[in-house]
């Protein structure tokens, strides 16, 4: 029982990441009709926003002290972080909480990147076949990840999480189980809550703002909205920017869990497409539901009891689900009838 609860938590937390990435992907597909293979790269760029931010606030001045020697006998370098010299205590807090603070940095950066991508390339592919959209965005993804590799190097760069959130929470105690029965890392709980918050915010935005209503109408029927004389083009640009921000934020908050490297986007890309397909192409609730569902399935499939029953299931569960869904119910769990269905 405790084990199942722990695994469920793990599934929710994995699912949070999947859902967030799939959400952005579906926004782009639903509104713009573009199959964006560069979406994983946006996730990766978000993570590197956190890296950049931390590198900026931890810039150091280096002075060499020839009187002291390092362990292998070279003159000792003394490093002083600039943020602390400038901002004092606030600088220290900034460094300590660099990951949450990077969110503020990532939002404008990702918005600009997203808009630039849409205006620069994606815009010209609205009317071209899906295969060409896949190809151009795939190429774009390669370019983006290679740029990051050229700037930051091929190795992962770890982002420490705030000390206060480093440990595990004894969740079992909260719900009346024995101490230590179910404990789960605090940051992963934060990640889950964060993704839930972002998802809620996106849904609220689409439901309660005029902008959102037009977008939803656009998702339902592009041509009609175009006829109404609403400048749908500009709104779609903003939509792409929004999707980039959602993907980027998912990346920022993910960095303390797994140190980001240049190809993390590609690792998530295949997964996120599977999530979108399982949820139903163009269905936002579907993407979210499928994200959590697949996270939980993957987590349960990793349980030793299940693996003894079906060896290797943990490795293929996600793809297997996708194959079954595509063959049995091609429009996905919550997809509309006729949405690229065949």
């Amino acid at each position: 029982m405790d084990a199942i609860l722990a695994q469920l938590l793990n599934g929710l937390d994995k699912g949070g990441a999947y859902a967030l990435i799939a959400l952005g992907l579906t926004l782009v597909f639903g509104t713009l009709g573009v199959v964006n293979f560069a979406h994983g790269a946006l996730f990766m760029l978000g993570a590197f926003c956190a890296v950049t931010f931390r590198q900026l606030i931890t810039l150091e001045t280096v002075t060499v002290d020839p009187t002291q020697l390092s362990a292998w006998g070279a003159p000792l370098e003394i490093r002083t972080p600039l943020a602390q010299t400038w901002f004092g205590d606030f600088g220290a807090v900034l460094v300590e909480y660099s990951v949450p603070f990077s969110i503020l940095f990532a939002i404008p950066v990702m918005l600009v990147i997203g808009i630039a991508m849409e205006r620069g390339i994606i815009k010209h592919f609205y009317k071209r076949p899906h295969a060409e959209q896949i190809l151009v965005t795939f190429g774009l993804a390669i370019v983006l990840q290679e740029i990051v590799k050229a700037v930051f190097g091929p190795n992962p760069i770890s982002q420490p999480m705030p000390t206060a959130l480093r440990g595990a929470a004894d969740i079992g105690v909260w719900i009346g189980l024995a101490p230590g029965a179910v404990s789960y890392p605090l940051w992963r709980l934060v990640y889950f809550l964060f993704s839930a918050g972002i998802i809620a915010a996106v849904f609220a935005f689409l439901r309660f703002t005029t902008f959102g209503m037009v977008v939803r109408a656009g998702m339902a029927d592009r041509e009609t909205v175009g006829l109404l004389g609403i400048n749908i083009g500009r709104r779609f640009t903003i939509m792409f920017g929004l999707a980039a921000v959602v993907a980027g934020l998912a990346g920022v908050m993910y960095t303390p869990l797994v140190p980001p490297n240049y190809h993390m986007g590609m690792d998530f890309l295949v997964l996120s497409f599977v999530v979108v397909v399982v949820g139903g192409m163009g269905s936002l609730p579907g993407a979210v539901a499928a994200g959590f569902l697949l996270g939980i399935l993957q987590s349960f499939a990793s349980m030793n009891e299940i693996k003894q029953l079906i060896p290797g299931i943990d490795q293929i569960i996600i793809y297997l689900t996708a194959v079954v869904i595509l063959l049995v119910r091609p429009r996905g769990l919550l997809g509309r009838r006729g949405m690229m269905e065949s």
Partner: protein
Amino acid sequence: MDLFNLPRRDWITFGLFALVVVTMPIWLTPLGASYPGLLQKFAIFAIFAIGFNILFGLTGYLSFGHAAFLGVGSYTAVWSFKLLTMDALPAIMFAVIVSGLFALVIGYLSLRRTGIYFSILTLAFAQMCYNLAYSVLTPITNGETSLQLTLQDPRVIDSALAARPEGLPSASIFGHVFDGFEGFYFCAALLLIAFFIALKIFSSPFGMMLRAIKSNQTRMNYTGFDTKPYALTAFVISGMYAGLAGALLAVTDPLAGAERMQWTASGEVVLMTILGGVGTLIGPVIGAWLIKYFENIFSAFNEQVLTRFFSFLPPEITEPVVTISSKFVGEGWHLTLGLIFVLVVVFLPGGIMEGVRRIGALFRRTTPPSAPAARPAAPTIQPAE
């Protein structure tokens, strides 16, 4: 003779192609690419790309999981080496058959969907193959460690015919062991056969049907064709080409690793085909050669080479130029590849072949005749039924 019945134009194409392939060790020498390992790769990946193009170029079905068949071919060939004999022919035969069977099953299921759903189905199947090869199927694939020959392998046919040689044997054909360029010529011979079959398919009624499927699947149905078996046949043929390529990888170097099946490897063959020109005969081959050439030669460029290259510039400019350009070669050659690829998709959807055609048209100052067989058509996805 129906078998060798080809229009004269195609015979010329084939003759020129054969000439180019056979003389590769000569004309690639000044380009620094004339060594067996790379030449074999040129031949092998050209086969892979030609096969992929039979599916994607003709029928328009974009498979994102073709590397799975390459991997299956490699594993089968290595097992044939381990269990039966070091002779290359049975290994190739088994590899083509087994990968064909894999393609039949995966194709049968995947072809029930079209468009992006088809792409994702093939991707999912290939990733399943990869992950299984990596984990549970370790007894068959040796997982991450990769399947290799060992001294303890039974090799029943070989040991029945002759005494066990000292050390690890190499792949051979009728007892003759490949050495250096011979390995390349063996691959080149198979490339020519593969190219010839592709030529036949392109100029046959069957090839026209495949192109018609890409053009308008609904019309195909109302014209009295059953499109599914056509698409499936194309899928299987293309899977068998991939299997052949995989087998040749194992023949030239008897080792099979799971990463051959990863989706990035599938993505590579897509890149090759698009870069060269989808739906053309020669395009995918050129794409394969370019990418493999860059991967091997371009990636070896470093700052010293660049400094020498830009030495004609004034010294104060040389350094920034070298620093910037070094990001695009060596380890960063993927960046160049990605940029070229994006530019091709945006401006030249027909790939390099379309570029060649446009330049040709510019010289002739006439519009090129619209012979559809030679026309690289933009890749389209199937209309939903």
